[in-house]
């Protein structure tokens, strides 16, 4: 069994863990001091590249490579963004870091700022996390007081500011360019790319955006070296990883384990197994936007290569577990309601497609399914895929295709019988 790690979660559960003194007492901000006094920006970037740190927001892009897309030098004002708009259903790991260890995220942002010679960074936290907003703002205030932010940080000549901003209830703002529009006081509608944020981001300036957990890894990398980091877990996407397990398990929660942990082990060992000791039915392994797995497909490693073998992705590593009491049509109705509600409406395939998927699925669940409906779901989904400005359309279509394909028999049974074959109306713990 993989050993539970205490790297990203090293300060979780400690007294006053959000306080700067507490953070510094356990070696916090030492990596920043090392970087500012003993390393060049290029060396910091080099360590992050050597670590092979992959983004933890869902797309898994190499962080160091992404940073290197920003123009060099200080000719143009450059900004970083920390995406704390955690909204992907099944994902709740960033909340843990924000509420327990804000300085680790902040230190990662300052290190990234030094490596890229950025002028400042925005911390964009979702509006529904008021406590996290206050905790992070206080961490920023403390960092200014101690000279870790502001002009000429620790006498190094490097200056860096951090601005904290809140979202206001829009899943789409987790998309990088929608988030940037939101920061500019606009509706959170994604931008057409190119231009990419590295050339034209916040206020039209070169910008780089990373997820909360991605930044939180950076102090670890600078402290221990890129090679140390690259040796943890799965080589293709190394490092410690925060797995969120929710749904029908005995111990839902966030588990820090090496990347590439076995999915069955995660569910049955770490998360305690299936609620009510009932049979497992389905698992969404990486947040609601990735294809769902059947119970017989979970002997896989939670890394890009392992999950690719079963046609899905690691995404945000938010694992949603469903036991045999779950109606898969109803589960999919729930998710399609989510995407239809959260579509920004700019692109017709997404705006109309998610809405129609929701309506068709509701009709099937309520007993009004027609022969050919499953193919209709697949057709609508395939006409969303790849035809929108941002990935929200794909994020809705991928699970739609997977649900309708992996559990086709159950969908057909609904249509044939003209009702939901499950005995109960509520989807609940049903122990």
């Amino acid at each position: 069994m993989a050993e539970v790690l205490k790297l990203l979660t090293r300060n979780v559960g400690k007294a006053n863990s959000t306080n700067v003194d507490s953070y510094m007492a356990s070696g916090g901000y030492e990596p920043l001091m090392t970087a500012l006094h003993k390393m060049s920006p290029e060396q910091v970037l080099g360590e992050v590249k050597a670590s092979n740190l992959k983004g933890r927001g869902g797309a898994g892009f190499p962080a160091g490579l992404k940073w290197s897309f920003l123009p060099k030098g200080k000719d143009r004002v450059k900004y970083l963004v920390c995406n704390a708009d955690e909204s992907e259903p099944g994902t709740f790991k960033d909340r843990l870091l924000i509420e327990n260890d804000p300085h680790a995220i902040l230190e990662g942002m300052i290190l990234a700022g030094f490596a890229t010679q950025a002028a400042g960074a925005f911390f964009y936290i979702r509006g529904e996390m008021p406590q996290g907003f206050r905790i992070f703002q206080r961490a920023v205030d403390q960092a200014y007081e101690r000279g870790f932010l502001g002009k000429n940080i620790l006498g190094s000549g490097f200056s860096f500011d951090v601005y904290v901003s809140r979202g206001a209830g829009a899943y789409i703002c987790g998309e990088e360019t929608a988030l940037m529009n939101s920061l500019e006081g606009k509706r959170g509608e994604p931008r057409l790319k190119p231009p990419f944020p590295a050339g034209f981001g916040v206020y039209g300036q070169p910008s780089n955006i990373n997820n909360v957990e991605t930044y939180a890894n950076v102090p670890l990398i600078i402290k221990n070296g890129g090679a140390w980091y690259a040796a943890i877990g799965a080589p293709s996407a190394p490092g410690p990883r925060l797995y969120g397990v929710s749904g029908h398990v005995k111990r839902p929660g966030v588990y820090e384990l090496p990347s590439g942990v076995n999915l069955r082990e995660l569910i049955y060992e770490h998360a305690g197994g299936i609620l009510g000791d009932r049979p497992l039915k389905a698992v969404i392994p990486g947040g609601s936007s990735v294809p769902v797995l059947r119970a017989d497909q979970i002997d896989v490693t939670m890394d890009p290569d392992g999950l690719k073998k079963v046609g899905t992705m690691v995404g945000s590593a938010g694992v949603i577990v469903m036991n045999d009491t779950v109606c898969m049509v109803k589960a999919m109705v729930n998710l399609m309601q989510f995407y239809a509600h959260e579509s920004c409406g700019q692109c017709t395939p997404c705006r109309e497609g998610t809405h129609w998927l929701k309506l068709i699925l509701q009709r099937i669940e309520e007993g009004g399914g027609k022969p050919g409906d499953v193919d209709l779901i697949l057709d609508v989904s395939n006409n969303i895929m790849g035809r929108t400005i941002c990935p929200l359309g794909d994020a809705a279509a991928m699970p739609a295709i997977a649900f309708a394909t992996q559990f086709r028999d159950e969908f057909e049974a609904h249509i044939r019988e003209g009702r939901c074959p499950m005995a109960h109306t509520h989807m609940t713990v049903a122990v």
């Binding site: 209830g169 609601s288 713990v429």
Partner: protein, 163 residues
Amino acid sequence: MSYANVSEMLANSEFLAKVEDLAKSYPEPRTALLPALHLCQAELRHVPVEFQAFIAERLGMAPAHVRGVVTFYEMYSEKQLGRYLLQVCKTLPCMLAGSEILLEHLQAKLALKPGQTSGDGRFTLITVECIACCDGGPALMVNETLHRHVTPADADRILGELE
């Protein structure tokens, strides 16, 4: 709520100073729009058109732009909400943990449907999409306070402790 209405709020020097602080908190004032709307929503429990016009003028935007923003984001309301905003997460992980039972209980107890405000202006009941508390489902937010694993009995206790 600290102000009787939007006119009183916009005439209050303390409130205006808060708006000025926000406008100066970011590299460009336009970034202060969402925070300013949050401020208004918190004070008045809605964002009336009078405030939209005021903040548009202060930040150099068209009122129509501000209205577009207000109506885009879920957390701003043009209609006044109740003193307690009850937000039931209804997305899949919370549904798997029993959010339907919680919602039905609250609907029956308060005689409200999602989106409705009680006649005395005390409660507004709404459903929300995933609030990143999937291991604590069913999750209920009451204004800014998050409650985890909320059973109907817990909901009765939580509501009973409100003013």
